[in-house]
C-alpha cells in the first residue's frame, strides 16, 4: 500500500472519528445544528459523485432532496400529536382542515380531491421507503431519457435545473395536498424499533453520523470498483468508451441514480432534524449552493466535497452572528466560489492532496517521482 493510500484511509477514519466524537463538545442545540451540516455533507458527496466522477453537473439535486424530504414529512405529519384534527381516530393534517370546503367529510380519504394520496403515509415505513424509492425512480427515468439521447454537458445541467423548478412549481401549486409555500411543519418524531428520534437528541445526531459515514464509505468503495473506473473513463471520453464496448448511458444512469438516492436519504434526515419540509428545498439557489460546497471542497474528492459542505455551513453560522456580515456573506461565498473555480479547480481536496505530496517528498526524497505527473487521485 502506498503512503498516499494510507493517508487517504487515515483521512476517512479521522473524519468519521471526529463526527462520532462531536457530541462531547456541545449542547443539544449545537448538536442539532451540526446534524444539519452532516446532512449537507451527504449532499456534497452526492454532487461529487456525479460531477467529479461522471462529469454530470446536476443543477437540480434539490429535486431528489426535496422529494425525499416530503415523503418522510408526510408520514411524520400524520404522526404529529399536536397538528392533527382533534378527537378523531382518522387524523387529518391541520392545513387540510383549515382549508376544507364547508361540509367536506373530515376524513383523510376525501377531505379534498387529492388528500387520498396521503393515505399510505399513515405508516411511517411507507414514508421512509418512498423517500428513497421515489428519487431513485425519477432519477432513473430522467437518466434513461437524457443519457440515452446522449445529452451531455451543460444541457444536462439545464434540464435538471428546469425540472427542479417545474416540480417546485407543482408542489407550491398543489396547495390542498402539500400546503403550498408553507410546506409541512409541526411534524411528529420518527420512531424505529422503539427508538424515538427527537431532533435534539444524540440518537438523531448519531443517525445522521451513521448515514453520512455509510454514504462516504459506500461511495468511496463504489468508485473504486471497475465500474467506478469505467465511469471515470466515460467522463474523460465517452466516444472512446463506447468503442471499447461499454453502453455509456447505463453507467451514467446507474451513478446518477445512486446520487439521487443519497440526496433522497439526506432529505429524509433533514426532515427528522429540522422538523419541516418546504418548497425552498427545490429552490434553484439551494441546488446551486450544493454545487458551490462541492466545488470548494473539491468535486473530484468525495471526502473533500463533504468537508466543504460542512465547513462552509459552519463558517456561515459564525458569520451570521455578526449582523453586518449577514448580507455580505452571500457576496463572500460567491467570491470564494469564483476564486476556487479560477485558481483551485480541484478545491480543498485537491489542495490537501498536493500538500500531502509535498510532505511525502520531503519525508522520503525520491519516493514520488515527479509529483504533477502521477495520478491525481484525490482524497
Amino acid at each position: 500500500m502506498s503512503i498516499e493510500r494510507k493517508f487517504q484511509i487515515a483521512a476517512y477514519v479521522l473524519f468519521i472519528a471526529v463526527i462520532f466524537a462531536a457530541p462531547v463538545f456541545g449542547d443539544e442545540f449545537w448538536l442539532n445544528r451540526i446534524s444539519k451540516y452532516l446532512v449537507y455533507g451527504m449532499l456534497g458527496v452526492a454532487i461529487a459523485l456525479t460531477w467529479g466522477y461522471a462529469g454530470i453537473l446536476n443543477l437540480g439535486q434539490g429535486l431528489f432532496f426535496g422529494l425525499g424530504a416530503y415523503m418522510l414529512a408526510m408520514s411524520l405529519k400524520l404522526s404529529s400529536p399536536t397538528s392533527l384534527q382533534q378527537g378523531s381516530d382518522k387524523p387529518v393534517p391541520d392545513f387540510m382542515l383549515w382549508n376544507a370546503e364547508p361540509g367536506a367529510p373530515t376524513q383523510l380519504c376525501c377531505i379534498n380531491k387529492g388528500s387520498f394520496l396521503w393515505l399510505p403515509f399513515q405508516s411511517q415505513s411507507v414514508g421512509l421507503v418512498l423517500g428513497i424509492v421515489l428519487p431513485v425512480v425519477i432519477a432513473g427515468a430522467l437518466g434513461m431519457l437524457v443519457f440515452r439521447k446522449r445529452i451531455s454537458g451543460v444541457f444536462v445541467s439545464i434540464i435538471t435545473l428546469a425540472l427542479v423548478l417545474l416540480v417546485r412549481l407543482i408542489m407550491v401549486d398543489a396547495q390542498p395536498v402539500t400546503n403550498g409555500f408553507n410546506g409541512l411543519t409541526d411534524l411528529g418524531w420518527l420512531t424505529i424499533g422503539g427508538i424515538e428520534f427527537d431532533p435534539y437528541s444524540r440518537a438523531t445526531y448519531y443517525l445522521c453520523a451513521v448515514c453520512l459515514s455509510l454514504t462516504l464509505i459506500g461511495a468511496r468503495l463504489i468508485v473504486e470498483t471497475r465500474a467506478g473506473m469505467i465511469l471515470q473513463a466515460i467522463r474523460d471520453d465517452q466516444v472512446r468508451a463506447r468503442y471499447l464496448g461499454f453502453d455509456v448511458s447505463l453507467y451514467q444512469v446507474f451513478f446518477f441514480v445512486i446520487s439521487a438516492g443519497i440526496a433522497g436519504v439526506a432529505g429524509m434526515l433533514y426532515v427528522i432534524v429540522a422538523e419541516f419540509a418546504s418548497p425552498t428545498f427545490m429552490d434553484l439557489s439551494f441546488s446551486v449552493t450544493m454545487v458551490v460546497w462541492a466545488a470548494v471542497g473539491g468535486r473530484s474528492s468525495l471526502l473533500g466535497a463533504c468537508i466543504g459542505a460542512i465547513l462552509i455551513n459552519m463558517i456561515e453560522a459564525e458569520v451570521s452572528e455578526t449582523e453586518a456580515l449577514v448580507e455580505a456573506w452571500k457576496a463572500i461565498i460567491g467570491l470564494i466560489f469564483v476564486l476556487v473555480v479560477l485558481f483551485m479547480p480541484r478545491g480543498l481536496g485537491g489542495l490537501a492532496h498536493d500538500v500531502l505530496r509535498q510532505f511525502i517528498r520531503r519525508l522520503r526524497p525520491g519516493s514520488v517521482s515527479s509529483s504533477l505527473q502521477q495520478q491525481s487521485g484525490a482524497l
Binding site: A227, A233, D237, R240, L244, G245, F246, L372, Q375
Partner: protein, 249 residues
Amino acid sequence: MSAIALTIDGLSVDFGGFRAVNNVSITVFDGELRVLLGANGAGKTTLMDLVSGKTHSTQGKVFVYDTEITNWPEHRIARAGIGRKFQVPSVFRDLTVRQNLEVANCRNPSVLANLRFGFSRAEARRVDDVLALIGLEAEHNMMAAYLSHGQTQWLELGMLIVQDPKVVLLDEPTAGMTQAETRKTAEIINNLKGRHTILVVEHDMGFVREIAERITVLHLGEVLAEGSVEDIERNPKVREAYLGTKGIS
C-alpha cells in the same frame, strides 16, 4: 482460402447531397493487413466512421464475419468485434496509463458485472505484457494527459490490443510522429499482424511499404484501385489522381 473478416458492401453516405463515401465495397480476409490510401478528404475517416457506427450509412451493408452490423450502435459494433483507433488520439486523460488499459480489459461491459474490485492475476499479466509491448512500463502510473503525442498514440494502440477485437481499424496511427516513433509504431502494428484483421489508413509510403500486403486506394469517396504495393505504385490512375496533390512519394 481463409474466411472473410470484414465485408463492406456498396457502402455510401450522403451529407446533404454530398457523397463523402460512394458505393464502396471492400473485403478483408481473416488475418489480413489492408492499407487504405487516399488524399486528404478522400473519405477514409468517414469510411471508418461508417463501419464503426459513428456515422450512419445511407446505403450498403457491413459484416464482421457473418454478422451484419450495419448502423448498429457503437458499443454493440465494438462487442461484435470491431476495435478502432482514432485519427486524433483519444485516451482517458485523467486515468493512469495502467487504468486506461484496465478499462479496455473489462471483458464484460455491463455495469453490474463490473461492481467488483481489481483484476485477476492473469488479467494483470495481460496488462503488463501490453505495457511492455507499447513501451510504457515506466509511465504506467502516470496520468495519460501527461504523455507525449507519440506515447498517447501507443497507449491507444495498447488499449486496442488489450480489447483484442477481431477487426482493428487504425486511422493514421503515425500522424505527427517522428521517424523513430514511426518505426516503433510499425513494430507494434507488425506485432498485431496475423492475430487480428487490420484496416489501416496511412499516408507515409515508407511506413506502408514496411507493413502492407494489399492496398486499397480511395479517391473522392470511391474505390480507385486495389492491389499490392507495387501494383498501386505503378497504377496510372492512382498517379493521375495524386497529381496536383503531392503524389505518392
